[in-house]
Amino acid sequence: MLTLDQLNNGQRGIITELTGDDPVTARLFEMGLLAGEPVEMIGAAPFRDPLAIRVRGTRLAIRRRDARRIVIVATGTASAPLPASRADLAVSAAAQ
């Protein structure tokens, strides 16, 4: 199972699930980290934590511990185009 914290810099993925039902997960949901959303790993802070990610056109800093709740499938790097539609997502998710 691939989680968001395992992505390399510049790598992209699609969120498939967020584990946990506590306020931390609720907060991540609110910020739009939902299944089907593309995410991109921008990089890590100088002391390796927190991480900078891009989701819904916003740069967010989140801690590794919280990123481990975010299950994803990798889709490629920033240079590769994002999947155009949700149908593609379903295909790429199923392929994993």
Binding site: L18, A26, E30, G32, A45, P46, F47, R56, R59
Partner: protein
């Protein structure tokens, strides 16, 4: 569920709230609408800042209420509770609301419509403002504003608040939305959820809680262990918790995961509204923010630049504020001189000069530092760098239970804890904010420096190491400046663990686009913070200083003292020349050498008289009273009084010690004579009072003690309770005493 416009006509001012996500330019928009006519205060009982602007739209007065920036109306923090209460018209000191202006970033509408969706559920007349319209267009976005407005049934205005463009459109939109009825909000959630809400309403009504609005009942169900649930449990019936648990269990069994349900429904709604309305380029335009970030948050370069920037900021606070502070002090002296020349020696003059001018001046002298610090904070915040600092420092702060957002407030406290505590407002997590406020006064502030400088110069030998590159005096100064920080780490950890326990909050922080800071907003911030400092801490520290003055002045008989003062002034006035004069050879010669011997004798007598008076005063009596307490620290009653008198402001110890040691009140850390007097001071049996352990114990005491009334007052204001300043005062005084005791007892045995 819809609220009728509360004040469509009449002379009551329109109440309009401004709400939006952080980093949307909300403050800029608020200032563009309200200008400088804003009143800043606190909501009763909470730490949330209440800011109300007064403006005039035609013949209608308008009260513009600035709500804290928030991503969601799920009430988790006090900020969010206040925002929800204001929007629902349940905040009694604000009253019913007429309209809401929801400000959103035009470049990132999908995420911002999440908040709008929640606001629409409340049923207040709403206007959507798409700010940063220029940036959106630069990013290649095309938005069909009319179509969007038609779909969400809310007037939409586009603005560029930093250029004051589009601001005029807001008035018309608000007036329009107040005049029309509020449309039914869309029902986005499954029917099973609404059924549970209706059942909850009945149960609450049976227990006498009929006035809980629909929105809050929804939130009660949605937000597990949320603030609304807790309030209902406390105010309505403890059983509410069981009803809610039952309802949530039934919904979970029906396959509904509550927090996910809300987010999914709202984001789906947002995407549907925007489908075909927003045309975005296939691949987002590569922004220069990403390129800048690669450098500014780089493992090595990022940290180096950060350290360099912090160094420049603090260097600037010390050096740039210097001349301004000198100016304040010069002004203070000039004023004291003027008063002294008009008012004859006596209690009135002492009250004015030693009490009022010295007290108020002692506060005002920090104003330049505070304004400079806030200038830097406002600049760094507005350009977007502050979020990067918090991002880089988060890992370090996490080791003792805080987050990156605490870094800057703590760093600022090295200059002065007052702006540091005020800067904790950026921390939205209540527990993190409280812990940061409570440890901030431990950071070695600039007011401790004079004390260190005096004692180090007097008692620490000027030994050099490594060929003179490292001096023992410098090392001691460094050690004294770090001691508070080192103590703060376990204190923060303990506070977090035992006083503010709880599950760690999610650290989710937006890293906004970099931008050129807005001049108007930055100057406004500096002005606002400066004013808050002067008007509140100023009046309170003034009162405390007066108290210390009175304790040091009464009940002694000052007749002889005032006679001496008057006689000295007469003699001085009779002296022909200024203090120094040019001789023919071009050198200067000290004129005091030519003074009549009577003058020197009178001065001597005055100093002795001052010493007697302070010994006999309430303060001196208190000193003798506490001598048994301070003796284990190696101190005599004079140091005890000095420490006691410096509780309102720690620098006071220098002038107090000066006074006590028969020098009169006018000594400073550069005064060699005070240094020498300290070295000569002895116990009654002839042993010198000051040894290295005594000096160190005194410095450790000052490093750890909460000797600053202004800080405690600001703490009271920021936490809205006397409890926390009292707590800080107690724990820091205890720490200081134990620290000083250990230092002296161990030091004197080595």
């Amino acid at each position: 569920m819809t609220t009728a416009p509360a004040a469509a006509t009449g002379t009551r001012p329109l109440k309009v709230a401004v709400i939006g996500n952080p980093n949307t330019g909300k403050s800029t928009l608020f200032n563009a609408l309200a200008g400088l006519h804003a009143h800043v205060g606190n909501y009763p009982g909470v730490t949330v800042e209440k800011k109300i602007g007064h403006l005039q739209w035609g013949d209608r007065r308008v009260e513009l209420i600035d709500l804290p920036g928030t991503y969601s109306l799920c009430p988790r923090s006090y900020d969010e509770v206040v925002a929800v209460n204001v929007l629902l018209g349940r905040q009694s000191d604000v009253g019913p609301l007429d309209a809401v202006i929801c400000i959103a970033d035009a470049s990132n509408l999908e995420r911002h419509l999440f908040l709008l969706g929640q606001i629409l559920d409340i049923g207040v007349p709403t206007v959507l403002v798409l700010n940063m319209w220029d940036t959106a267009r630069a990013h290649g976005l095309a938005i069909d504003v009319d179509e969007l407005s038609r779909r969400i049934k809310v007037p939409v205005v586009t603005t560029e608040a930093h250029r004051r463009k589009g601001i005029d459109g807001i008035q018309g939109a608000v007036e329009q939305v107040i005049a029309t009825t509020v449309p039914q909000p869309p029902r986005l959630f499954p029917q099973a959820f609404y059924d549970e809400c209706a059942a909850l309403e009945q149960q609450l009504a049976q227990h006498g809680a009929r006035d809980i609005p629909w929105f809050l009942r929804e939130r009660m169900l949605l937000d597990e262990v949320g603030v609304i649930e807790r309030q209902a449990v406390e105010e309505v019936d403890p059983q509410v918790a069981f009803w809610l648990a039952g309802a949530r269990r039934r919904l979970t069994e029906a396959g509904i995961r509550l927090p996910l349900m809300e987010a999914e429904a709202r984001y789906r709604w947002a995407r549907e509204q925007l489908h075909g309305v927003v045309e975005a380029p296939a691949e987002p335009v590569a922004s220069w923010t990403d390129r800048l970030d690669r450098l500014l948050t780089h493992r090595a370069c990022g940290l180096l630049i950060f350290a360099g920037l912090m160094f420049v900021v603090f260097q600037a606070i010390y050096t740039w504020a210097g001349p301004l502070m000198d100016l304040c002090e010069a002004g203070q002296e000039l004023l004291s001189g003027t008063v002294a020349s008009v008012v004859p020696p006596g209690p009135l003059r002492s009250l004015l000069v030693d009490g009022v001018i010295a007290g108020v001046g002692g506060v005002l002298v920090f104003l330049p530092q505070i304004m400079l610090l806030f200038l830097f904070i406002a600049l760094l915040e507005d350009c977007g760098y502050m979020a990067r600092g918090a991002y880089m420092m988060d890992r370090v702060m996490a080791t003792f239970g805080l987050s990156g957002k605490s870094f800057l407030p703590l760093m600022s406290s090295f200059a002065c804890a007052i702006p540091g505590i005020m800067a904790t407002r950026v921390i939205e997590n209540y527990r993190d904010r409280m812990v940061t406020i409570l440890v901030a006064p431990l950071m070695s502030c600039s007011a401790r420096l004079p004390v260190y400088l005096l004692l180090i110069a007097a008692f620490i030998p000027a030994t050099g190491y490594i060929g003179g590159w490292v001096s023992l005096q410098g090392l001691v100064l460094f050690a004294m400046s770090s001691i508070g920080l080192l103590v703060a780490i376990p204190v923060a950890w303990l506070l977090k663990r035992y006083m503010f326990p709880g599950a760690p909050a999610a650290f989710v922080m937006e890293l906004p686009e970099y931008k050129v800071p807005s001049f108007r907003l930055v100057t406004y911030r500096v002005y606002e913070r400066g004013l808050a400092f002067v008007s509140r801490a100023g009046t309170l520290i003034f009162a405390t200083t007066l108290l210390v003055w009175a304790a040091g002045y009464f009940p002694g008989d000052h007749t002889r003292h005032h006679e001496l003062e008057a006689r000295i002034e007469q003699l001085e006035a009779a002296l022909p020349a200024p203090a120094t004069s040019e001789t023919d050879e071009g050198g200067t010669v000290d004129v005091e050498a030519h003074e009549p011997p009577e003058l020197a004798q009178l001065r001597e007598e005055l100093n002795l008289e001052s010493a007697t008076l302070i010994r006999e005063s309430f303060l001196g009596k208190a000193g003798h009273f506490i001598e048994p307490v301070v003796k284990p620290l190696g101190w005599d009653w004079r140091i005890g009084v000095g420490a006691l008198a410096s509780f309102p402001a720690r620098e006071v110890i220098i002038s107090t010690l000066g006074t006590i040691y028969s020098l009169g009140g006018d000594v400073d850390e550069e005064s060699t004579s005070l240094r020498d007097t300290l070295k000569r001071a002895t116990w009654p049996d002839g042993r010198p009072i000051y040894s290295i352990p005594v000096a160190l114990s005194l410095m450790v005491f000052f490093a750890l003690c909460a000797q600053c009334a202004a800080t405690l007052m600001v703490m009271r204001r920021e936490t809205n309770s006397w409890r926390w300043p009292l707590f800080s005062f107690t724990y820091m005084t205890a720490l200081a005493y134990i620290g000083a005791l250990l230092t002296y007892q161990i030091g004197s045995r080595l």
